[in-house]
Amino acid sequence: MYNFTFHRPTTVRQAAGLLARNPEAKLLAGGHSLLPVMKQRLAQPSALIDLSLVEGLSGVELKGRSVVIGAMSRHADVAASPVLAEHLPALASVPGAVGDPQVRNRGTIGGSVANNDPNADYPAAVLGLGATIITNKRRIAADDFFTGMFSTALEEGEIIVRVAFPIAKKAAYEKFKHPASGFALVGVFVSKRGPEIRVAVTGAGANGVFRVKSFEEALKKRFAAKSLEGLSIPATGMNADIHASAEYRAHLVGVLARRAVAKATA
């Protein structure tokens, strides 16, 4: 790590002000993506703006037909949320599948979504449910938010404060874990909310999380695992590394999508 100054604002406004004054500064949420790269001296922010004392940034609340999750809500708390257990258990299973207990007790939804790691779990749920990212400046639809590996629609100085997830009647997440890191080698989130069907894939795509329109079309006829039988996606555009070939990742997308739909309709 290199030296940096450490700020602990108590309001979003203060945090935004600090960000504006320190262009080389970074927000610090759970630190489980940011601190490892700082320790390896791959990132060198001039200042860290810790969000942990900012009031009102955590908690899971039911608001009409949506569940709203504060940006600083830890993975473990979201996974254990009674609100989600009642209204949207599929969403609770997403942070529940993240890493290990240490990571789940520190990592946050805001940090995960802002970071947009191509193998992270939350992006699949955000896109797979058509959530809305609420920042200190505006509301961003999931379909517009993720713009590629480690890249989002967030602008300089923009802070995620909440994420609002519409409640879907049927939804499920299936994850095939990366054997070493525990991230998603491939993860598929499916949902059906009225006529809207979404199939979102993380881990597989070379450009990060994406929707599988062909699967969504097939599921529109009937939301059942059978509707996906024989369907696959091409290996082009898939990630390939020592852990999985592009063909294998494409294959897993099909398998996990079928399993997720089966789970959602069970």
């Binding site: 001296r41 095939f176 054997p179 070493a180 852990h243 999985a244 294998y248």
Partner: protein, 786 residues
């Protein structure tokens, strides 16, 4: 058996301090005025060092010194060595290239150290290390052992990057046996490269006392005396009596801490130069590119059988990757620790093995848990399993037909097995694993989209390393006996000094069990001292499952002498003839009388010496012994692995694991079971998860735990671990050793199970989900079905 004697599952004494954070590891030792060292390492696999500019680094705040390979050479610090001479088939000696602790002219692997920065704090040293400017001329690299001979030349002394071309056995006789064979099984095998990853990364702390000209090194070593010997006699750092090496608590080694590494040499040299203590502690990322790796063999193997499935001969041709430099014992691993075990548990009349050891631009490769024997077992157990399948004979039956049944048995590859009952462990394992019920379980699994497979591994290993004359005749530079000193205090408590070293094995418990039983004194009254060259006179350390078989035997020998001496003291006390004194349960008795003296009283009398004349009998009660075993020991057993493979994803789950091992005498069944668990976990790691991958540029792609998969608890089932027992005739306690068995047995059991499930033999380790899925798509069984 007493509650704390041999055979009792005594709780480990050492665990209290470990689990309460009271352990003292090298990095916990702090010396006054201590400085911190950070190494500047090569980012290239192969490059010429054109220039090192440390000017800016030296001016950084807190920097005490920046030293380079040129400085090291200037001070005439010698190279690191490999201590086991291997000769090629043509009689020429192995080609050992110079291995300076800091590279001066060329770097030969990513992580090769070129300079060291010493500063007041770790942070200051790190900051300054980034400012050392090294000008490299990058050279082409080679990482694949199979391509090494045609790759870019690495060391001048080794044309075609070849260290030796060695062979064992009778090529002509094997050839003849193959010609007469009814069936020949052929396999191409890659034994994947592994990164050890002990929980405590390596560390070194060196201190120089200018008043006495004495150097002290605290380090993470499995064998501090050997470290001292090499650093004194070969590196030439200081005379042996002016160098003290202390290996305090050490958090795991698995072989990787046997070796003498550049960092400890540099810390010693630097500490004397700057006249202040110098500490280095490896980070995990650094460990990946500096700790000696394991395995990395490419082998073509063949098995010849007659029509009844009787094995006639085995042949293997192996290329062993030794990495960029020859590590301390690297040469012995793919030769005398490998080819000598190619007979497995079988009566094989002819065996011939060729091994070519090569340099590549990778981290040096040396012994890793099992060292050579996992590689041998994998070759033998894969061949036997595949031969059985090809010939339509039950794999267990083919094994039975070929088991060695009478002992001693001389194999064609040096080893003389002295005791064992291979049928017994196979039979017991098959019962425990319910092999009979397997087909039913397989059908049941198929209903849920899962493919079950069952795999055997009836392994053997040579442990109790080793008879000194025998290893000497094979090129080993040292003797492999062990020493012990038993010091009885005047109050009857006992300290045992041993030349072995515990870094997870529980010697403080098991060795105390031996002493407690033998002297009839409370277990709590015994303490075990190890890991300090100033306390223990000499010792060869811990590896090769030798501490029980060799180390405890030395203690037995010293205890024999203690008893003999104590009897003399008791005779004077009890006014009886020495020959009439009996010793039992901690009491000396005059035979046929009720006159007796407790062990503690005798100890006291030995020291106060009031009852005998010092001219007649020396006061005191302290004895030393050096024990040299008469043979290796041969632990063996049967592991059965049952897997379930997800037909859609190829993911393998181990659903049952049965291990029946013959370790001879078991001193502490709880500790032995723990050793087996850990060994299996490492073997499963090799089979399913672990694999060091270098890209063609020589970058270690699996350079962190985010990419290199270590086995975790959830990757493993609950193990069924049992033992059978034939005692080793080669040491007084009948111990064979248990530390490496799991890692040796497991990979073949897993791969045999997977290949049984999917019906194709061609599968590489680690058998990741992707690998198995691809193999299933190629599977002939599947192609036939489609």
């Amino acid at each position: 058996m007493s509650a704390t004697g041999i055979g009792a599952a005594v709780r480990r004494k050492e665990d209290f301090r470990f689990i309460t954070g009271k352990g003292q590891y090298t990095d916990d030792v702090v010396r006054p005025g201590e400085t911190r060292a950070v190494f500047v390492r090569s980012p290239h696999a192969h490059a010429k060092i054109k220039n090192i500019d440390a000017g800016e680094a030296r001016k950084m705040p807190g920097v005490v010194a920046v030293l380079t390979g040129a400085d090291l050479a200037g001070d005439k610090i010698g190279n690191l060595i490999c201590g086991w001479m291997i000769h090629s088939k043509d009689g020429s000696p192995m080609k050992m290239a110079p291995h300076p602790a800091l590279a001066a002219d060329t770097v030969n692997h990513v992580g090769d150290a070129v300079a060291v920065v010493i500063a007041e704090t770790l942070a200051a040293a790190r900051d300054a290390a980034e400012k050392v400017k090294v000008d490299y001329e990058v050279l082409p690299a080679v990482v694949d052992p199979a391509k090494a001979k045609s790759g870019p030349q690495i060391h001048d002394v080794a044309p075609k990057n070849t260290i030796y071309e060695w062979s064992l056995g009778d090529a002509k006789a094997a050839e003849a046996a193959f010609a007469a064979a009814k069936h020949v099984t052929r396999l191409d095998i890659v034994n994947n490269r592994l990164v050890p990853n002990a929980v405590e990364p390596r560390a070194a702390l060196a201190e120089y006392d200018a008043g006495t000209d004495q150097l002290t090194l605290w380090n993470t070593s499995q064998n501090p005396h050997v470290a001292r010997l090499v650093i004194a006699a070969f590196v030439g750092m200081a005379p042996e009596h002016k160098l003290r090496v202390i290996a305090p608590d050490v958090g795991g080694g698995f072989g990787s801490k046997i070796f003498i590494y550049p960092e400890e040499v540099v810390c010693l040299w630097a500490a004397r130069k700057i006249r202040r203590p110098v500490k280095w502690a490896s980070e995990r990322t650094e460990a990946f590119v500096t700790d000696a790796h394991g395995r990395d063999h490419v082998t073509h193997a063949e098995l010849a059988l007659d029509a009844q499935g009787k094995i006639l001969a085995l042949r293997a041709k192996t290329i062993a990757n030794l990495g960029a430099y020859m590590s301390t014992f690297s040469s012995s691993v793919p030769t005398y620790l490998y080819a000598t075990l190619l007979s497995g548990q079988y009566d094989i009349p002819q065996i011939y093995c060729e091994v070519d050891a090569v340099y590549t631009n990778t981290v040096p490769v040396d012994a890793y848990r099992g060292a050579g024997r996992p590689e041998a077992t994998f070759v033998v157990e894969r061949l036997v399993e595949v031969a059985a399948r090809e010939m339509g004979i039950e794999p267990a039956e083919l094994r039975r037909r070929n088991f060695i049944k009478s002992f001693p048995h001389q194999t064609p590859v040096i080893m003389a097995y002295d005791a064992g009952d291979y049928n017994a462990s196979l039979k017991k394992a098959m019962e425990l694993a319910d092999v009979k019920g397997f087909n039913k379980r397989k059908r049941e699994a198929a209903r849920h989209g899962k493919i079950r497979g069952l795999g055997y591994s009836t392994y053997i290993e040579a442990c109790g390393i080793a008879p000194s004359q025998a290893v000497g005749s094979l090129g080993c530079g040292v003797g492999l006996w062990e020493s012990a000193e038993v010091r009885v205090n005047p109050t009857g408590s006992v300290e045992v000094l041993t030349g072995t070293h515990a870094h997870g094995q529980g010697h403080e418990t098991t060795f105390a069990q031996l002493v407690s039983e033998r002297l009839g004194i409370p277990f709590e009254n015994v303490s075990i001292v190890h890991g300090d060259t100033d306390k223990v006179q000499f010792g060869m350390g811990t590896y090769g499952s030798r501490s029980g078989a060799v180390g405890m035997s030395a203690i037995v020998k010293a205890l024999d002498k203690i008893e003999a001496k104590a009897k003399k003291v008791a005779a004077h006390m009890l006014e009886a003839a020495e020959g009439d004194i009996e010793f039992k349960d901690g009491k000396f008795t005059v035979a046929g009388t009720d006159k007796s003296a407790a062990f503690g009283d005798v100890a006291l009398n030995a020291y106060i010496a009031h009852k005998f004349a010092g001219q007649e009998l020396e006061p005191g009660l302290k004895e030393t012994s050096f024990y040299d075993p008469t043979n290796f020991t041969f632990p063996a057993g049967c592991h059965i692995c049952e897997v379930e493979i997800d037909a859609e994803t190829g993911k393998t789950e181990i659903v049952n694991w049965t291990a029946v091992d013959d370790f001879g005498t078991v001193v502490n069944p709880m500790i032995v079971e723990g050793q087996v668990h850990g060994g299996i976990a490492q073997g499963v790691g090799q089979a399913l998860l672990e694999g060091a991958v270098y890209n063609d540029d020589g970058q270690l792609v699996t350079g962190s735990l985010m990419d290199y998969t270590m086995p975790r608890a959830h990757d493993l089932p609950s193990f069924r671990v049992e033992t059978t027992e034939t005692k080793s005739p080669s040491n007084p306690l009948g111990i064979k050793g248990c530390g490496e068995a799991g890692a040796i047995a497991a990979p073949a059991a897993v791969i045999n199970a997977i290949t049984d499930a999917i019906g194709t033999e061609n599968i590489a380790m680690p058998a990741t989900a992707n690998t198995v899925w691809s193999a299933m798509r190629r599977s002939p069984a599947r192609q036939a079905a489609e």
